[in-house]
């Protein structure tokens, strides 16, 4: 592995743009991923995820802007970037009459690995991805999950510090997804910087340190799951169940400055609250002080899917 200065962000996108005719596939996208972290890239189909990942992987040129891996431009110094980056594309072709170990050996040779370094690396990757029992199996006979593992193994074969994984969980069964999630977490624990895109939003929330939500080529939000929720949905949905005096409770809540959208159905009142958990506790105190008989009081946070649906409009370019 090539030594890298630790003070650099391992992945940086600077004002990246990519036009296809009049379509803006990537529209002034900027973000950075610190060393050793997992960055989830979420967006609907045609949002620009794959295009920006392909630019980062030196397979496509941006119309403007730059994509850096370990401080090196994938536009101007692609050969230096390639040694530091493992790319797993959404769909990948395989060779006929080739088995798993021959496939990985070929790519190990293509990355310049020789002698003991190559065999050691091959053994490690076969074991890490769980492909050892399938070493002699022809690639054409592999299941979708095993093919994904093989592709991940190919991306890992030269021990790159950065991994770019485009929809690695697409088409996998639940068990294979869980195993893939464990693999990615263990790679992050090894210090790899990972950029991963997926439609399985809950899984991304579990395995990623930070997320970026992209639609129509524009980055709509970045940050941790909680930060995104906080920034994009400052209101908390609160549910209150009272034993009696519903009207009094509604009136009291309506007068509260941080509360709005109060609705009551039977003895259940729902309202939106601006602010943090402290605000939520303050409102409960206020209700109790006014002798409102509270049976249940709970704050509901939107799931990542809800936040995603809230932010994106589902417009396809």
């Amino acid at each position: 592995m090539i030594a890298t200065p630790t003070n650099l962000a391992m992945i940086e996108l600077h004002d990246l743009c990519r036009l296809f005719g009049t379509t803006r596939a990537v529209d002034h996208v900027s973000f950075s991923v610190p060393r050793g972290s997992v960055f989830g890239y979420i967006g609907p189909n045609g949002a620009g995820k794959t295009t920006s990942m392909r630019i980062l992987a030196t397979l496509e040129l941006p119309t403007s802007g730059d994509a850096l891996v370990d401080g090196l431009s994938s536009v101007n110094d692609p050969d230096r970037v390639r040694g530091r980056l493992g790319f797993m594309p959404d769909g990948f072709g395989t060779y006929s009459d080739t088995n798993c170990v021959e496939y990985l050996d070929f790519f190990a040779r293509s990355y310049g690995l020789v002698g003991r370094d190559r065999t050691r690396r091959l053994r490690y990757v076969m074991q890490f991805t769980g492909l050892e029992p399938l070493a002699m199996k022809p690639i054409r006979g592999l299941s979708k999950g095993m093919r994904q593992r093989l592709c991940l193994g190919r991306a890992l074969i030269h021990d790159p510090p950065v991994l770019v994984l485009d929809e690695p969980a697409a088409g996998l069964d639940p068990r294979a997804r869980i195993e893939l999630r464990q693999i990615i977490r263990s790679l992050a624990a090894e210090g790899k910087t990972i950029l991963i895109s997926s439609h399985i939003l809950t899984e991304l929330a579990e395995m990623c340190d930070r997320l970026g939500i992209i639609e129509r080529g524009q980055l709509l939000a970045t940050g941790s799951v909680d930060e995104i929720r906080q920034n994009l949905q400052p209101d908390r949905q609160v549910r209150l169940k009272v034993a009696s005096s519903v009207e009094a409770a509604v009136e009291l809540l309506s007068k509260h400055t941080s509360v709005h959208s109060v609705t009551a159905i039977d003895h259940t009142i729902t309202f939106k609250l601006e602010g943090t958990e402290t605000e939520q506790i303050a409102v409960l105190h206020h209700l109790c002080d006014a002798r409102v008989e509270v049976l249940e009081y709970s704050g509901q946070q939107n799931s990542l899917e809800d936040v995603f649906l809230e932010i994106t409009k589902g417009i396809v370019q």
């Binding site: 030594a3 030196t58 021959e102 002698g115």
Partner: protein, 526 residues
């Protein structure tokens, strides 16, 4: 879980005699192209290769029996080697000239088609290594096919009537033809990426294979095996020149295929231009040598016309290059004023390509035309000096006009070789038919006699340089061609300013730091 045993997962350098051999061969494979190793593994497992090989073996045994039976009883006292060799040549030419180039073409086209090329593109393999790997694999297959027939060639030699030189020449011819077609097939695989284009490319390759098969068969059977080649007639010199030109085109095709698949951030032109320069040097030397050796001035005229055709094709293709160069390419360009003056025309860009084609053609044509002038070589049938002037004039005229048309169009349609080639074909066609149409409109019938008004008709004008039919209007036409060509050349020069302007590009600090890191790692390794 117990470890899976596989030769590729075991370290070389195991103890013992076999371990020592394993270690040495492992070190040997480090020198090999990974594509060659992969393709060899695939080929040895593929049904197509296995079936072809065994069919070839079977056919050769079959022909051995049939040939001997048919040649009996004469075979006991009449030399029959040539007779049997003819059959073996035809047998070998099928896999060599048809199967190997097609397999190489499909192999590279499939990489581009099925998305595996992208996985290769992000490894350390350069585009040139990918193409040469495919070529190496094709050569390996050729050698295996040769090996299948080696006993048969030995049998032919023992039957007498054919010497080792003739056998070598026959095999060399098949090998060269196969190699040339393979490199061309690789280039065709990269030329078009859409389905319709790929089908057209495949059909074109099949046509070329058929033509080569016919040419090779008639040459091998009618000339080589008929023992028509002699040192006295200079036919070996012709073969030598033919071989040298074929090799130069193989190198050109391989480099062009690599340039086609290389990323746009790479310098995809300079090597190609050096190869073109070497080809011109080879051609001019051969033509000058042949003309002086035979005191035949017609060879010079032929050489000039061929140079004109070569540069109009290459110049047109170079007009499709992108003028936008990545900072990485700019960093590798000559940085001093003197360096730029001398070497910029070898750097990528349509403007530099235009200049390179014109200046090279002028140098080549002037050398051949000047040779006739200096040595006072003359003929009733050609005038090399006038031919060279007219060819250079046409080159500047048509290439200059194409560039002026392509320049604004490429800004809208993007850079591609299709645009300049289309424009050039239209211009050349219009150049031929327009004078006749104008004459037909004004006089009611196209002119049957050459006149100055036919100056755009390159086909007629060049044929008029034939001294036996010297036409009155030719000098006027030549003057018009050179004047218009010169004018277009000067006009194009003004448009080249941007490509020629001085741009010093510094190396980013991170790249320098990376170089230092690599040097440290290398020093630590030593």
């Amino acid at each position: 879980m117990s470890r899976v045993s596989h030769p590729l997962l075991d370290d070389a350098d195991q103890p013992g005699w076999w371990g020592w051999i394993d270690g040495k061969t492992e070190r040997g494979t480090r020198l090999l192209n990974p594509i060659l190793i992969k393709e060899a593994r695939q080929a040895l497992k593929s049904k197509q290769f296995g079936v072809t090989f065994f069919l070839l073996l079977l056919a050769s045994w079959f022909w051995m029996v049939i040939g001997v039976v048919m040649a009996s009883p004469d075979i006991y006292y009449v030399p029959s080697g040539v007779y049997l060799m003819t059959g073996y040549f035809l047998l070998l030419s099928v896999p060599m000239i048809a199967m190997v180039p097609l397999a190489a073409h499909r192999s590279l086209a499939a990489e581009l088609d099925e998305g595996t090329f992208e996985l290769l593109a992000i490894t350390k393999l350069s585009a040139l290594r990918i193409v040469t790997g495919k070529l190496g694999s094709a050569v390996l297959q050729m050698l295996v096919y040769f090996a299948a027939l080696v006993p048969a060639f030995g049998f032919c030699y023992l039957l007498r009537g054919i010497d080792l030189i003739m056998i070598s020449l026959t095999l060399g011819l098949v090998f060269m033809a196969s190699l040339l077609l393979t490199t061309f097939g690789l280039l065709l695989a990269t030329a078009v990426q859409n389905k319709a284009g790929q089908i057209f490319a495949l059909l074109f390759l099949l046509f070329c294979i058929l033509m080569t098969e016919i040419f090779c068969a008639s040459f091998a059977i009618g000339v080589v095996l008929a023992q028509q080649l002699t040192w006295e007639t200079g036919s070996f010199n012709f073969l030598l020149l033919f071989g040298a030109v074929a090799i130069s085109f193989m190198v050109l095709f391989v480099q062009a295929a690599a340039s086609r698949i290389a990323p746009v951030t790479e310098n995809r032109s300079t090597r190609l231009r050096w190869i073109m320069f070497a080809q011109q040097l080879l051609w001019v030397t051969a033509m000058a040598g042949a003309a002086l050796y035979d005191s035949d001035v017609d060879i010079l005229s032929f050489g000039i016309v061929m140079l004109g055709i070569y540069w109009i094709v290459m110049g047109t293709l170079m007009l499709g290059e992108s003028a936008e160069l990545s900072p990485r390419v700019l960093r590798t360009m000559p940085q001093t004023t003197f360096g730029r003056m001398m070497l910029l025309w070898l750097c990528p860009g349509p403007g530099t390509g235009f200049m390179f084609a014109i200046l090279s053609a002028i140098a080549g044509c002037a050398t051949l035309g000047g040779l006739a002038f200096v040595f006072a070589m003359s003929s009733n049938y050609s005038n090399p000096f006038l031919t060279s002037v007219i060819v250079i004039g046409y080159l500047t005229m048509y290439l200059g006009a194409t560039r002026l048309i392509v320049l604004p169009l490429s800004r809208r349609m993007g850079n591609s070789f299709v645009l300049p080639v289309s424009v050039m074909v239209i211009l050349l066609t219009l150049g031929v038919i327009t004078p006749s149409i104008l004459m037909a409109i004004t006089t009611g019938a196209p002119s049957s006699q050459y006149g100055a008004q036919e100056f755009t008709n390159w086909m007629w004008t060049i044929s008029e340089t034939d001294g036996s039919r010297f036409a009155f209007g030719l000098e006027v036409a030549a003057f018009l061609i050179v004047t218009i060509g010169g004018g277009l050349f000067v006009f194009n020069l003004f448009l080249l300013v941007r490509e020629f302007s001085y741009r010093r590009v510094s190396i980013p600090a991170r790249v320098l730091a990376d170089d230092q890191e690599r040097m440290k790692v290398a020093a630590a390794g030593e």
